[in-house]
Structures are given as structure tokens and as C-alpha cells.
Amino acid sequence: MSRKYKQFFGFMALRLAGLIVLFVLFYIIYDIVSKGLSSINWEFISQPPRRGMTEGGIYPAIVGTFYVTVITALVSVPLGMFGAIYLNEYAKKGRLSRLIRMAIRNLAGVPSIVFGLFGVALFVQWFNFGPSLISAGFTLGLMTLPVTITASEEALKTVPDAYRKGSLALGATRWETIKTNVLPLAIPGMMTGSILGLARAAGETAPILFTGAAFFLPHLPDSPFSQFMALPYHLYILATQHHNISVVRPIAYATALVLIVLVLLINLTAIILRIKYRKKFENK
């Protein structure tokens, strides 16, 4: 009898935990949507802010977040892919590869503000890029690197070894094998994994704090070396540093909503890609 009860209570507890998670998620969404939706209109999305952020829109911030995410992708995805290819396909299982993997794991645990400070020291000051899209993008890129490397490695691992052996036995070189037989199969997985990492990066505030984000700029960034406005930073300022917090609160909520929708869209892209490629393989 007691075993049945134990199982019952166990399942109940698990169900409860799941419900709590769902509850929290929905509450957050509800909170943001209910308080922010009213401020969302076309003007909000397409216009720059006016009158000290109390009026107008957040268009530049959207553009800025977009640009910096692109740069992050350009840095993190290729490096992640090739790093993963090196680790999985070439590296001997010796001390060096173990060291690299340990470094990646630790990198993943570094707090984002530390990344921000590192970015300032390296890109803003030492390379002299100054606060800019490049500095911020590179910083975010490094921060996302553990995710892209790991995702890419996982994708490579799912390619059966038999394909590699078969190709090598025909006289292909390692690189030819990777290029024609392994990568085509791994790229979808690499992409979806990396995109999820990018979605996180798009919403980060600390790394872009000192490396390039600005609260107000008169015009859109016209070169990679210019500063930019960004949604997370904008939200941060609106919510905590603004001189007239209560007035801009609805705008802050609206910004949060836009940010969440953006992240959701990026994740959705990853999911759709994954489904599309899964179908492709299932048909084969």
C-alpha cells in the first residue's frame, strides 16, 4: 500500500513543480503583456524616442540590438563551428583537448559583467575600438562561444562514425571527409544550437554596458565603430535610472515586451529550422 502512496505523492510533487514553473512563466508574460501592450503601436516600433524617452518609440534600440546580434553571430558561430570541428575531428584525446574543454566549461560559467569588463579592457581600450558595435559584438561573441562550440560539437557527434570511416577508406583526406560527408549533416544541428545561444545574447545587458551601448543617440549607428542603442540596456535605464520613472514605466514594460517577442522569434526560427531538417532526414 505504502508503495502506491509513495508513487502517488511523488507524482503529485513533480506535477506541482511543473505547475509552479508554468505559473511563474505565465505570470511574467501576463505582467509584461498587460502593462506593456497598451504602449505598443506602429509609432513605438518605428520612431526614435523624443522628449527624454517619454514619447516616441524605440526604433533605434531595435536596430541596435539587431546589428550587435549579427556581429555576435559573425564572431561566435564560425569560431564555434571550427573550434568544434577541431575538437571533435582532429584533436588527439590528450592533455591539450582536455584543457580546451575545461576552458570552455569554465568560460560558460563566467558572469556576464566580467565579460563586459573584459570587453572594455580588450576591445574598447587595448584594440582601441572604443565603445562600439564591434566591441560589444565581439564581447557578446566570446560570451556565446561556449554555447556555439558545445552545440556544434554535439551536432558533429551525432554524425555516425561509419560515414567518416567509409569516406576515409575511399582515399579522402580528413578535411574532404568533413566538408563533404560530415558537415552537411551537422550544420542544421550546429545552426539550431547556435541560434539558441544568440537569442540569449540578444537579451544581455552587462556585456554591452560599457562596450558600446548608449542610452540616447541622435542617429542610427552608421559604422561598426559607432555606439548604438540596445533594447536590454534601454530597458535597464528606463526602469531604474530615468529621472521620471513612473512616467516611463509603461514604456519600459513595452520595451520588455518587444525584447521578449524578439527573443521568442529567434527561438522560433531555431525550432522551425530543426523541424524542417528533421523532416528532410525522415524522408530519406
Binding site: 588527439k92 567509409g166 569516406s167 576515409l168 577508406a169 582515399g171 579522402a172 560527408n181 530519406k284
Partner: protein
């Protein structure tokens, strides 16, 4: 069937880190014959096979000592082009491993890698290879469909065709029929007999009856040593070594 030696192995020793997988192997494989390697699991026969096309190089910790001469050239000497070695010495694996591409692209993979781009030449090669592996009639109308849709036996014949497409001299086959049903196995065996007219074939098998059925010469491996190597008739009618006799009569532990 001439009696020219195609592969000469002298004092071959193979180590995986500290473990010695092959001990002092000496063997001469004759041209255009089928040589079968038999022995219990873990005796080194697959390791030996991989030494012939240097696929052992890909295994962590693998170390080779000794000489493996193919057409009087030691393939382990410095400066050997492993890529062209593997073109000359093809390999078919135990589990059929067609690439997730079309049948055509599977066969054309090897030639393309080695520089053949001309479409009509590739068509020729694909057709010839599939005919030589007795698969052409079954797939000639669906060369663009995925190779993964074929049955097990067909997939294995595809892998054989794929290996033939790069025009090797020697075909190494690691238990090529062990994953197949008896009918498919029988077809592969017939195919091997046909192929032996033009290729030197070395096959690892743990199915002794198969070795007896198709091979010209048989080598018996036990715990890394080559116990006996002789014409197949002799091995199966009157083997010289008691250990060989014990193994092939099934009285082995």
C-alpha cells in the same frame, strides 16, 4: 590465377598503447586470389586487415612495426601518400554504411574526391561499378533516390560498388556478409568469386564455412599470432597445426 605476390607482410607487429594486437606476422597474399582470415573474436584479424590500408593510423595509440609491401613498396615508409594508398586498397565494412546521399552520389563520391568532374565520365564509372557489384539492374532506374532506402544486402553491394568506383587493386572486406541474411550472403559470395578475376581480395570472416566456400588461401589467427597460412583445401582437409584443427572443428574453448 597467377602466383604473383601482391602483398608481402614481414615481421608485422601492431600495438594499441601497451597491448600487442599482432605478433610477428609473416604472410604473402597472392594476386587475384581470395585470401580469408579466420580466428576467434579479438584474435587480431581485423587489426591485420586495417594495417593493409593504414586505417589503423586513425586509431588513437595504434603503433605499427614491421614491413607491409604492396607491389614491392613498403606502405609504412616515410613519405607514403596514404590517400592514394587507400585509393589502391579499398575497404568494405561489416555494417553496410552508405552515405546519406543518392545512390549515384554514393558511387560518384570516390571519383569526385580524386578529381573526376566530367559528368559523362562519372556516369560511366557509376554504371560500371554497379554492374560489377551486381546491383545495376536493380537500381538503374532510381539512381537519384536515397541509398538509405535500399535493403541490407543491396546496401552492402552498394558499398562494394562504391569501393570499386575508385578502381582499386585490392579489396579488403571485414566480415562483409555477417549482417546479411543467407540469400544476400550467398549473392555477396558469388560476387566475390566474380570480382576475384580482377581484384585481389582479402576477407575477414568468423564464418568458417564461408571461408571454406570461397577462398583460395586461408590464414588462421589466434591471440595476435598467425598460426597457419595455407591453401584453403589443405587447411580444411588436413591442417598442419593442432590449434588450427581444434578451431575449425569447433572444439575450441
Amino acid at each position: 590465377m597467377n602466383n604473383k605476390t601482391k602483398v608481402k607482410v614481414e615481421n608485422l607487429n601492431c600495438f594499441y598503447d601497451d597491448f600487442q594486437a599482432l605478433k610477428d606476422i609473416n604472410m604473402e597474399i597472392k594476386s587475384k586470389e581470395i585470401t580469408a582470415l579466420i580466428g576467434p573474436s579479438g584474435c587480431g584479424k581485423s587489426t591485420f586487415l586495417r594495417c593493409l590500408n593504414r586505417m589503423n593510423d586513425l586509431i588513437e595509440g595504434a603503433r605499427i612495426e614491421g614491413i607491409v609491401c604492396i607491389d614491392d613498396y613498403d606502405i609504412y615508409q616515410n613519405g607514403t601518400d596514404v590517400v592514394s594508398l587507400r585509393k589502391k586498397v579499398g575497404m568494405v565494412f561489416q555494417q553496410p554504411n552508405p552515405f546519406p546521399k543518392s545512390i549515384y552520389d554514393n558511387i560518384a563520391y570516390g571519383p569526385r574526391i580524386h578529381g573526376i568532374k566530367d559528368r559523362s565520365r562519372l556516369n560511366e564509372i557509376v554504371e560500371k561499378s554497379l554492374k560489377n557489384s551486381a546491383l545495376w539492374e536493380e537500381v538503374k532506374d532510381r539512381l537519384d533516390t536515397s541509398a538509405l532506402d535500399l535493403s541490407g544486402g543491396q546496401q552492402q553491394r552498394l558499398c562494394i560498388a562504391r569501393a570499386l568506383a575508385v578502381e582499386p587493386d585490392i579489396l579488403l572486406m571485414d566480415e562483409p556478409a555477417s549482417a546479411l541474411d543467407p540469400v544476400a550472403t550467398s549473392r555477396i559470395e558469388d560476387l566475390m568469386k566474380d570480382l576475384a578475376e580482377n581484384y585481389t581480395i582479402v576477407i575477414v570472416t568468423h564464418n568458417m564455412q564461408q571461408a571454406a566456400r570461397i577462398s583460395d588461401r586461408t590464414g588462421f589467427f589466434l591471440m595476435g599470432e598467425l598460426i597457419e597460412f595455407d591453401r584453403t583445401e589443405t587447411i580444411f582437409e588436413k591442417p598442419a597445426q593442432q590449434k588450427t584443427e581444434d578451431y575449425i572443428t569447433g572444439r575450441f574453448g
